[in-house]
Amino acid sequence: MATLEVKDLHVEVEEEQENQTREILKGVNLTMKTGEIHAIMGPNGTGKSTLSQTIMGNSAYHITKGDILLNGESIVDMPVDERARKGLFLAMQYPAEIQGVTNAEFLRAAINARRAEDDQISVMAFLKELDKNLALLDMSQEMTERYLNEGFSGGEKKRNEILQLLMIKPSFALLDEIDSGLDIDALQVVSKGVNSMRGDNFGALIITHYQRLLNYIVPDVVHVMMDGQIVKSGNADLAKKLESEGYAGLRDELGLDVSLVDDNR
């Protein structure tokens, strides 16, 4: 069993204008184990993506206080690639496009990055695994010969993120709004992919605005984040409650002094 712990995490980013910084995470605590699916919900601008990017190691986010531990070891000073090789995976909201590098070549490089020089995956084993996962995600062979995400539609990019997840098989996946921009069919396919990973050796943190995704990937734990903190945790029912009552309802119930971005719309 692997564990991922976030302890009193404070994170700030530099504002684009001027030389100012802004604190986004204000003391996040979270403990996950493999075998569990966690969901983080919350209104816009509340720090959900910041949390996933900070765990992965995006250099745009600066930790001012707190720690992130993977199996008891602090990872905050590790570069991104090392964190990934230790078992973290981030399915991104906006995957980069890279011309000249085929999807298949990239996947092999990612798999081999985790293996010893003298133990690289064989072409046959790789293709077998690839075919299996393509079928699961209802993706064509042709997608793997295309350049990495280049010219992919929003839905194709999301599927491709999940394909990588299935091929790389991390201990922990952070899924950042994988439901955005997906129609209901694609949502089902993506969910099927994630659900196929469920098991004792896999944990996920699903970030979403909407409860809908959680009908397909039923979480064990739901966290609600507001203004840079987790303000409430519960089981899958919490997500349903939020869907009916909204974030403002929960805020008022908890007596929080938080202004929601979309309040004055």
Binding site: V80, A84, M92, I98, G100, A110, A113, Y147
Partner: protein
């Protein structure tokens, strides 16, 4: 002490003697001598914002004949059913031209055989229609001291599916300049692609003067790619010219990945109405090397389309200057010229420049440019690294993506891979520099 005049006369006499011993036709010997005279007063080619005057590009003013060891070509991949010309130094090692092409009148031969056997074609077209010896000092030097090269003639209406490859290998096991010329004539309605490989064997310090001239007749379609991979002790001048007739299409896809200083001067002249040219160049520089590249398109005919795309990657303490020159001549109404020049800096000790230069003397045209000098895209790097790929490999993959538009254009997958491999090697070498 001998005077400069005596030295000069002695040089001319020596060149004439060497050319005659070589069995060259009179017209060409006369041209050599005229070129020597012309050399004296001509200026070096101008490359804006770039200084190369101290490079040893013309320090060897002798004409010598040397038989090279054929085994220097032994690492060329063996492949069946390829159309291929292989030359090591001045020695032609291999000419593979299928019989059916020979029957159709296609000529693929070394340049001196062409002078002797096809005088009507060569006397008229060699450095006369497309480029001229008196263009500058280096072109005059080239004609005066020419010592190797290849001639390709594709007759009217002939289409060749398989790319024609020329391996031109500099023999630097001896002290001797490479003065090599590729002359290509594409007659009306012909269609083919040509791939040139430039390599060096041996460690002597030499210069290379490598010229390409392509005459694209009406309605022809020609694609020219080159993998320039000259050695670490070769100072090179690469002069490439294409002249496009009516409704012809001519494209360059050039990878400048030499290991020493390179002066590149590439021009497409779109003379015929409706001609179209895409000029794509990539360059990777490492160590202390310096590359200056002019990529010029000249719109002369009406409704001509000429686009430039250049991408460069600089490592270590290297220098790279890309000049994209769009020249639209008065009368070229309806012309279209777009250019994009981008360089990627992988080291803060490197010096890179991407200069768009537009010279427009006509109102009814469309012209545009984009230029940038930048760093590796951090988002792309982060994305690849988030999958566990280490930083160095991730950088190389991002760079390959950056160079993709030119790599894409190389017609043979094996050659594309060859180019990728050379680039990877250069990048790896450069990355180890801290």
């Amino acid at each position: 002490m001998k005077s400069a005049v005596q030295d000069y006369e002695a040089m001319k006499t020596a060149v004439e003697k060497a050319a005659n011993e070589h069995g060259e036709p009179h017209w060409f010997v006369a041209r050599r001598l005229a070129a020597i005279d012309a050399m004296q007063d001509l200026a070096l080619p101008e490359v804006q914002r770039y200084d190369y005057h101290r490079w040893p590009l013309m320090d060897n003013l002798t004409l010598n004949w040397h038989r090279s060891d054929k085994t220097l070509a032994s690492d060329i991949p063996v492949a069946k059913d390829r159309i291929r010309f292989v030359q090591v130094g001045q020695t032609t090692v291999e000419v593979d031209l299928p019989d059916e092409l020979d029957d159709q009148g296609v000529i693929l031969t070394d340049i001196f055989s062409a002078f002797r056997e096809h005088p009507r074609l060569t006397e008229k077209y060699f450095m006369d229609k497309v480029t001229k010896a008196n263009e500058n000092k280096l072109t005059a030097y080239h004609e005066a001291f020419l010592n190797s090269g290849v001639f390709l003639y594709v007759p009217k209406g002939v289409e060749i599916k398989q790319p024609i490859e020329a391996y031109l290998i500099q023999d630097s096991t001896v002290k001797q300049p490479m003065v090599s010329h590729v002359l290509v004539i594409a007659e009306e309605d012909s269609k083919f692609s040509f791939i040139q490989h430039l390599n060096t064997k041996g460690d002597e310090t030499n210069s290379a003067s490598c010229m390409v001239e392509v005459l694209s007749r009406a309605n022809s379609t020609v694609h020219f790619s080159s993998v320039d991979e000259l050695g670490a002790h070769t100072y090179s001048f690469l002069h490439r010219r294409a002249l496009l007739s009516r409704n012809s299409r001519f494209d360059w896809a050039i990878g400048v990945v030499n290991d020493q200083n390179t002066l590149g001067d590439f021009t497409s002249q779109l003379k015929g109405e409706g001609a179209h040219s895409e000029s794509k160049v990539i360059a990777v520089t490492t160590g202390n090397q310096s590359n200056g590249i002019n990529n010029r398109v000249v719109n002369i005919g009406k409704h001509t389309v000429a686009n430039i795309s250049q991408r460069g990657v600089l490592l270590e303490k290297s220098e790279l200057v890309f000049n994209g020159i769009g020249d639209i001549i008065h009368g070229a109404s309806g012309a279209n010229a777009e250019q994009e020049n981008r360089v990627l800096m992988m080291s803060d000790q490197a010096h890179g420049d991407a200069n768009p230069i537009l010279l427009i003397d006509e109102n009814d045209v469309i012209a545009g440019h984009a230029a940038s000098v930048g760093q590796v895209d951090q988002n792309q790097l982060y994305y690849l690294m988030s999958r566990g790929i280490d930083k160095e490999l991730a950088q190389r993959l991002v760079i390959r993506g950056f160079l993709g538009p030119v790599l894409e254009d190389i017609p043979l997958p094996e050659v594309r891979q060859e180019m990728i491999d050379v680039i990877e090697r250069k990048l790896e070498d450069g990355q180890h520099f801290k």
